[in-house]
């Protein structure tokens, strides 16, 4: 019986779909070779590209969110600390931090320490408006996709990630600009989602809103799962991990320290440090005047040296413990 799947099968050779698939494969291979270095949408793209193409030799690396990136980049630039700053953006959540470390370890020797400079490590359930652009679009290796899809419990989450396996999909916003005359690429998707969420929030009855504030659903969630995986990985490789929360404005800290979320963070970190001796942490969040922050979250350029120096001392103290 003839093998219908044989490449010599005349039916397969005459199949437009088969030839299209082959052409897509060739085009995609070429795109993956040329596009990643040409189009960077944000710092996560750049970092992942660097991790894939460069090698590092460091005893300490810093992971974290955008405030962590501000601080670690400044300190590294001033040569005040000896570490590699790999902090990117809070939108990658703990899943992204974990996979950044995995990718780092693929091409480099394990560091002796990882500093995690980030706001709440247990926050985030991969349902933010920024999740698609920073997480689903960027972390598309098979094991990353499978794990995150499983954790999100949403096949459509995985299907969306799968579409980003195509370079043309990943860089679509850049490629769209190549056609002259067309209206600017539709980037309103996220804005629309924000509007929709706000509408939903406004429609939520006050009692439910209060319950959501008191018991935020994104605690003990997917981020905690990936934080534990990060700790396990560090433990296996004998890497010390130091968690330092990022600074806050005075007013945010005043509210935050009385909240349930902070109390649960303190308690959970205590439990985790018992299970994972490689973890050293502080829950003393540094707070500064509101005017030191340009948008309530990120530190203003003028005050960055002061805050960075403060954090440099904090890191040194913590690492001495």
């Amino acid at each position: 019986m003839p093998n219908r799947l044989s490449i010599f099968s005349s039916r397969l050779l005459a199949s437009g779909v088969a030839w299209t698939a082959a052409a897509v494969f060739c085009i995609e291979s070429w795109c993956w070779k040329t596009l990643p270095s040409k189009y960077f949408s944000h710092e996560v793209d750049i970092l992942l590209y660097d991790l894939q193409t460069r090698t590092y030799d460091a005893d300490t690396i810093v992971l974290g969110d955008s405030v962590g990136r501000q601080l670690s980049r400044y300190l590294a630039g001033q040569k005040k600390c000896d570490f590699i700053p790999l902090a990117t953006n809070g939108a990658v959540e703990m899943a992204g931090q974990y996979y950044i470390l995995i990718r780092y370890l693929e091409r480099n020797r394990p560091p002796s320490a990882v500093i995690l400079l980030k706001h709440h490590v247990l926050h985030g359930d991969m349902k933010r408006v920024t999740t698609e652009n920073y997480l689903q679009r960027c972390f598309t290796r098979w094991y990353e996709m499978l794990s995150m899809t499983w954790q999100s419990q949403s096949p459509s989450f995985g299907l969306r990630m799968l579409s980003y396996r195509l370079a043309a999909a990943k860089y679509r916003l850049h490629l769209q600009k190549l056609i002259p005359g067309l209206p600017p690429p539709e980037t309103g998707g996220n804005a629309r989602q924000v509007e929709e969420r706000l509408e939903v929030l406004e429609k939520t009855p006050p009692l439910q809103q209060l319950m959501k504030r008191l018991f935020p659903s994104d605690l003990n969630s997917i981020s905690e799962y990936y934080f534990i995986r990060l700790l396990s990985l560090c433990q296996q490789r004998n890497i010390r991990i130091y968690y330092i929360p990022c600074p806050m404005t005075n007013s945010t800290w005043t509210r935050y320290k009385c909240g349930v979320a902070y109390a649960r963070l303190v308690r959970r970190l205590q439990e985790l440090s018992e299970d994972f001796p490689v973890l050293t942490y502080t829950t003393e969040i540094r707070d500064y005047p509101n005017g030191w922050f340009e948008d309530g979250i990120h530190i203003s350029a003028e005050k960055l040296p002061v805050v960075a120096d403060d954090y440099s001392r904090l890191m040194t103290e913590l690492m001495r413990q």
Binding site: G16, L159, S163
Partner: protein, 475 residues
């Protein structure tokens, strides 16, 4: 669950995987369960309406078939019609009629406190009620035997590819396919996959990309710019066609893959040269339904010229109202009726004689097509406008405010229409010339591959990712 959503793709892959391995009866049960899940994913509460419609029509059809007395037959037909049209009236038209009545009374100085209910329009109600009505009428006319098994009948009513936006399948076509074992053939899968791909291309690449430009025009306020309105109408013509034909093609493609054959719903409508030709190509399942169950029972063209005109006008007005409970749809129906009557009258006065010289005949055809396309676009203005005031302002701009718009508006609209619609226009030209909607599948391999690649990368790079609802879902 939208055809262009990830949830639907997963739903269909799982369902199809089970479907191909099951024998006929379990296949039907699977499809029935899948169809209910498909509908319930939108709003499970409205499943009750489908179930009510299904049960009433099933029993009415049996009662009609069993009865020998014409009056009894008619009574059961009336029960079916009243219940189906009643559901449609309550859920689709009640607020419209109440508001219109209040507005009318207000003109005579009578103040009435509006008593309106906040009724949600159940998705696809216009489609499945017409489908069930056609079944009962066919049984009443003796053209069809009633369904033996209620589950088979329920599947005919709810079969998910055509449940929410057609094609409005006739029982005489679909029901035999439900009760007999279906064959999944290579031909069906090839053609079905092509239709699905083509449908997604029309919807996600063309319609959804054109939509924001059209929205921008209709969200704007007067004074309008004539050139902008004209280009906007071209864009809307492209959008509504690709949105609805895209849905129909996906529906037909899914059915093809499962061994069903749905009727053709769109046959290159913008190549029509006159109104009769247009309605033989646009939303064919609705136009033939209206012809068979409304126009012909009203008397058709059997009772003289004026009755024919009256019947045409009534049919088109009700056809317009079928699209939505708003005055602009009524106006659109009246406009279509006028076009049909005008064309009929003109042809009676001056019968068409095709020029003997081929190039002259071709040129005349092109002229007729272009001219009639503009009449269709004028109709789309009535269809799409947000208010009667906007219709007036845009019409005035079209005929008196024809000034050059800003370079940016012009560039965006022209580039978008040509870029997003270009490939489809070329393919449809070949489809028209060869009178073969599957002409692409017969092209030489390199050309086929090039077309597939263009479509594929069009979808990947330019496809609108957030699943946008289909326009005809609201009808």
């Amino acid at each position: 669950m939208l055809f262009n959503s990830a949830e639907f793709i997963i739903f269909f892959v799982v369902l199809y995987g089970l479907y191909v391995v099951l024998p006929h009866r379990p296949q039907n049960l699977l499809l029935l369960a899948g169809s209910y899940i498909f509908y319930a994913a939108w709003d499970w509460r409205f499943l009750s309406l489908i179930l009510i419609s299904t049960v009433i029509d099933y029993y009415c059809a049996h009662a009609i078939d069993r009865s020998d007395m014409p009056r009894r037959k008619k009574a059961f037909l009336t029960v079916s019609m009243v219940s189906n049209l009643g559901l449609l009236g309550i859920f689709k038209y009640s607020n419209f009629f109440v508001h219109s009545m209040i507005s009318l009374l207000g003109r005579f100085g009578l103040e009435v406190q509006p008593l309106t209910l906040n009724i949600i329009l159940p998705m696809g109600i216009s489609f499945y009620t017409f489908q069930t009505m056609s079944y009962t009428i066919d049984v009443y006319r003796g053209q069809l035997k009633p369904a033996v098994n209620i589950l088979d009948f329920a599947l005919y009513v709810t079969l998910f590819p055509q449940l929410v936006a057609g094609p409005i399948e006739r029982a005489s076509n679909l029901f035999p396919q439900v009760i007999r074992p279906r064959k999944i053939s290579r031909y069906g899968i090839t053609h079905g996959a092509y239709l699905i791909f083509w449908g997604y291309f029309q919807k996600v690449f063309i319609a959804d990309n054109i939509a924001p430009l059209v929205e921008k025009l209709f969200e704007g306020s007067a004074p309008y710019n004539g050139v902008h309105v004209l280009l906007g109408l071209y864009a809307f013509a492209l959008q509504i066609y690709c949105d609805f034909a895209g849905y129909s093609n996906i529906a037909r493609g899914l059915a093809f893959c499962m061994g069903f054959r749905f009727m053709l719903n769109f046959n290159l409508p913008y190549f029509a040269t006159n109104p009769s030709d247009f309605w033989a190509r646009w939303h064919i399942s609705l136009s033939t339904w209206l012809r068979d169950y409304l126009y012909i029972p009203l008397g058709g063209n059997r009772k003289g010229t004026w009755f024919t005109y009256r019947n045409l006008a009534l049919t088109m007005i009700l056809g317009g109202l079928w699209h939505g409970a708003a005055w602009n749809f009524v106006l659109w129906g009246i406009y279509q009726g006028i076009l049909l009557i005008g064309h009929r009258w003109y042809r009676a006065v001056r019968p068409f004689v095709a020029p003997a010289v081929p190039w002259k005949a071709a040129a005349l055809r092109v002229l007729h097509t272009v001219a009639f396309f503009h009449l269709v676009c004028l109709g789309w203005l009535l269809f799409r406008a947000e208010s009667l005031h906007q219709i007036g302002a845009m019409l005035s701009a079209l005929f008196t405010g024809f000034v050059w718009p800003s370079q940016l508006v012009l560039e965006h609209l022209v580039a978008a229409i040509l870029f997003f619609g270009g490939l489809m226009m070329v393919i449809e030209w070949f489809q028209f010339r060869s009178s073969d909607l599957y002409v692409v599948l017969k092209w030489p391999l390199p050309v086929r591959v090039a077309v597939y690649l263009l479509m594929f990368y069009g979808l990947v790079i330019f496809g609108v990712q957030d699943a946008q609802s289909f326009i005809y879902f609201q009808f």
